[in-house]
């Protein structure tokens, strides 16, 4: 395989998502030209950013050949915590933001310990912890409520001319946290462990700590997503996170991340999130009945997650398939 072909292959997910994004926004604009106004762009960005953050977190775990089914519940718990504790004023906001991020890291830590040191299958481990997190959220906030100070809400959801603050937040978190991790030794180890765990062990890489770190990254990004959702809705909701678990998985796969680990880019899952969010958002705008929305959403997710299976079909031997 030559060089340009290889680069194309690596970024196939990102490129197809970028193309898809242009097409979808184009179709959207034909029906609803307002979508290209600053207000329209901000609203599209706002519906996409939370999923993008969750997808980046999911990607960190998928790269290490893991799976995080607790991302939605992590978002819910932090969202409820922020909505019940945040008060107006710089201090009231700052400590809640810091505590929220710490809670996110702690939840990721729990997942990571159970998976990496407890040797529990990621699917089972994170499914179980998702009930712990969702249950804790219900204890804090049994029904939608709480409040978020206007200052915090405005800081995350306003816009600066055509540039929505939500995009700035996403770009900032990715540039300051995810990109440095991805290009550091930790990022290389995450990819390596996901690519071939046994080679990683023989090469002396700290396998368990790398796994732990990836789940903590997922928890961190989930917490950021939760804070953004709190700002967007200016309240808390103990059912707000549910959809993000499966959608983050679908967005990552759409953006070219391999479910089997070791393959993925920074940009791909983010673009995938935008495509997926806008499609789902458009269903509502185009007057598709709410009953059909779930049906179509499930169908879209199944097709997207099915894309991950295409790679498996390329395997040369049945033994390789059996082991996956």
């Amino acid at each position: 395989m030559n060089k340009s072909r290889r680069v194309l292959d690596k970024h196939a997910g990102s490129l197809s998502c970028a193309l898809g994004l242009v097409v979808i926004i184009g179709l959207y604009a034909l029906r609803q030209p307002l979508i290209l106004s600053p207000f329209g762009i901000a609203s599209l960005a706002n519906v996409s950013v939370a999923l993008a953050l969750a997808a980046v977190g999911q990607t960190a775990v998928l790269l290490v050949a893991g799976l995080d089914l607790s991302i939605g519940a992590e978002i819910t718990l932090v969202n409820c915590f922020a909505a019940t504790t945040m008060s107006a004023g710089a201090f009231g906001i700052a400590w809640v933001v810091a505590a929220s991020l710490l809670i996110g890291l702690a939840m990721g830590f729990l997942n990571g310990v159970v998976v990496a040191y407890g040797r529990v299958e990621p699917l089972i481990a994170t499914f179980c912890t998702s009930f712990i997190f969702a249950g804790a959220a219900l204890i804090i906030l049994p029904r939608p409520g709480g409040s978020i100070p206007d200052g915090f809400a405005g800081a995350l959801t306003g816009s600066w001319g055509p540039l929505p603050f939500s995009l700035v937040l996403l770009a900032g978190v990715v540039a300051l946290v995810w990109l440095p991790v991805f290009t550091s030794r930790l990022g290389r180890y995450i990819v390596a462990v996901g690519d071939d765990a046994s080679s990683a062990r023989l090469s002396g890489l700290p396998l368990q700590r790398v796994e732990l770190a990836s789940y903590m990254l997922a928890g961190f990004f989930a917490a950021v997503a939760a804070l953004f959702l709190a700002a967007e809705t200016t309240s808390g909701d103990p059912s707000i996170g549910g959809i993000y678990t499966l959608n983050s998985l679908a967005a990552a796969v759409l953006g070219g991340v391999a479910l089997t680990g070791g393959r993925g880019t920074v940009l791909g899952p983010i673009l995938g999130s935008f495509v997926l969010s806008i499609i789902l958002n458009a269903l509502g705008v185009f007057n598709v009945s709410a009953f059909w929305q779930d049906f179509i959403e499930g169908l879209v997710l199944m097709v997207v997650l099915g894309l991950g299976g295409l790679r498996v079909l390329r395997a040369d031997s049945w033994l390789a398939l059996l082991r996956q």
Binding site: P180, R185, R188, V191, D196, L202, G204, L205, A315, D316
Partner: protein, 541 residues
């Protein structure tokens, strides 16, 4: 001990000394009280047949396995390595037989994994990384390997060079080379030998494992011989003798005659039941042709990993693509793309790995045996328990399967009896061709004799049998004819009384030197390679 005496005159202190290493896997002792000293500037070769304990010894030194007794002394301290990381930190780098590479990462990333040069201690310095990767490859004469190619796209020979460069990048005090030349061309082997000379001149030490006696004669200072987990002999520099070495490797089996009571069946005039012509699977085997007559047991011999297992896998349809050549069963062409097709064409396959390939450990003995014969035990649309148990009782009796009852789960039986159940499954209907792929792995001697009797019985009843084993002594005991494999090709055929362990090894080790690497253009991920995955714990029997 004896090693240290020999060097006491020079007063050199060993870089590394293994003392009394013992390792058991279940009931099998893979290594028994093995001592090994390694002095600065020496190349120490390890020689032994399959299962002699070489790989276990290497795995202990590399920190992959931990010994049950004994210790590894390095730089004065005495310890053993709890993890591969600890071994690397102590200055031991290993070129693993099964390669420890990452298929999706680039060549440069693979070479320096775990040792990435960094800027400000944070970000990976890609430029320095590429420069050092290029230097290391150049020292191996492999400057033509593109640093940005994902290793999964490289042919095996180049991947092996990357694995060697990766070990060298650790600048180890002790370099362990576990069959580093198996895929290399003659020119590449020469470069590797030059590198070992340079390391030797720097006062480093090398443990070298190869099945090529010619290489060992050229580069090894001292040679230790292992057999059945014990160190049975060694040669001081300049004292290596090939015939003596083979004798030590084989022990009392040397000169052992073929069991006289076994009648050697003449190849029958009947048409072949299985014909294979020029079967090739890039990177695994090439131009394999064979004929199997009804009533014949044909062995695929040679040391482990020469492509025999892959030939059997390919016949059984385990490879989905890439297979070239012609296969005929009873005159009908077969293009096996799945086990389902192979079974329909008349093949039965008894694998070495009962757990993942042949048996359902949680299901009962009965359920396992009838799983491929449900149409024989029906009454109407339902399964008939009476017919089931009649079939199963007969087979349990015939194969002498020891189990409390036919209703206990397969997993509760001993290894040998589990294997017999898997065989019984294929006896419910007579297949024209039976493939036994290392069926005695982890099976005790008594059960093995029983299994061999069953195989002979199948042949006597007119089926053809293909047989492969990692234990070379089993071929003379069972086979009418053997094909000797080396590096994916058939290098010779032995028949009748000529099938003995020494003749097989002699054919195997006879020099035309290293062959060209097989199908070097094919891309493949190492994780997908059956028979060489890291999860295969070899050499324990």
């Amino acid at each position: 001990m004896a090693d240290e005496e020999a060097h006491s005159a020079t007063a050199a202190k060993p870089l590394l000394a293994a003392v009394g290493l013992t390792k058991r896997f279940g009931g099998v002792t893979a290594l028994r009280g093995v001592d090994l000293s390694l002095f600065p500037g020496e190349v120490h070769a390890l020689l032994g047949a399959n299962g002699a304990g070489k790989s276990t010894l290497v795995k202990i030194l590399a920190g992959v396995e931990q010994p049950d007794a004994g210790e590894v002394r390095i730089a004065g301290g005495s310890t053993y390595f709890a993890t591969p990381h600890a071994a690397l930190a102590a200055g031991l780098a290993t070129v693993h037989q099964e390669l420890s590479l990452f298929p999706s990462l680039s060549v440069a990333e693979n070479i320096l994994i775990g040792r990435e040069p960094r800027r400000l201690g944070l970000w990976i310095d890609r430029r320095t990384m590429r420069r050092r990767g290029a230097e290391l490859l150049k020292s191996l004469g492999a400057a033509d390997i593109d640093l940005d190619t994902p290793v999964g796209e490289l042919p095996l020979a180049q991947a092996q060079l990357v694995e060697i460069a990766k070990a060298l990048s650790a600048e180890p005090l002790v370099l362990i080379l576990d069959e580093p030349t198996s895929a290399l061309s003659i020119a590449e082997v020469e470069r590797l030998i030059a590198v070992t000379e340079r390391l030797r001149a720097q006062g480093r030490a090398i443990i070298f494992i190869s099945h090529r006696l010619g290489e060992i004669e050229r580069i090894a200072d001292r040679v230790s011989i292992l057999r059945s987990g014990e160190k049975v002999g060694k040669f001081e520099p300049g004292a290596f003798r090939r015939d003596r070495a083979l004798q030590l490797m084989l022990g009392e089996n040397w000169q052992e005659a073929r069991p006289p009571e076994r009648c050697v069946q003449e190849r029958q005039a009947a048409p072949s039941i299985l014909t294979v012509e020029n079967l090739t699977l890039p990177r695994h085997f090439s131009a394999v042709s064979l004929d199997l007559a009804p009533g014949e047991v044909l062995g695929l011999a040679g040391l482990e990993g020469q492509g025999q297992k892959e030939v059997l896998f390919a016949l059984f349809g385990l490879f989905r693509r890439g297979l070239e050549g012609k296969i005929e069963i009873a005159g009908r062409r077969l293009h096996p793309r799945s086990p389902h097709q192979a079974i329909a064409a008349g093949l039965a396959f008894i694998p070495d790995d009962r757990k993942s390939l042949g048996g359902f450990l949680g299901l009962s003995v009965t359920q396992n045996i009838v799983i491929a014969a449900l149409d024989l035990v029906r009454s109407g649309p339902l399964l008939s328990p009476v017919a089931e148990s009649a079939l199963v009782e007969e087979l349990i009796h015939r194969l002498d399967i020891r189990c409390a009852s036919a209703d206990v789960p397969l997993g509760s039986l001993s290894g040998g009896n589990q294997q017999k159940v898997v065989v019984a499954k294929w006896l419910t209907r007579r297949a024209p061709v039976y493939i036994f792929c290392d069926p005695t792995r982890g099976v005790d001697a008594g059960a093995r004799a029983g299994l061999f009797a069953v195989i002979r019985e199948l042949a006597a009843a007119g089926s053809g049998v293909l047989f492969y084993s990692t234990d070379i002594s089993e071929f003379p005991a069972l086979c009418d004819r053997v094909l000797v494999f080396r590096e994916g090709r058939i290098v010779g055929t032995l028949a009748g009384a000529a099938v003995t362990e020494p003749t097989i090894l002699d054919l195997f080790f006879r020099e035309p030197g290293p062959g060209a690497p097989v199908g070097a253009r094919h891309k493949k991920e190492w994780g997908d390679q059956p028979g060489s995955g890291a999860e295969h714990v070899e050499h324990h029997e």
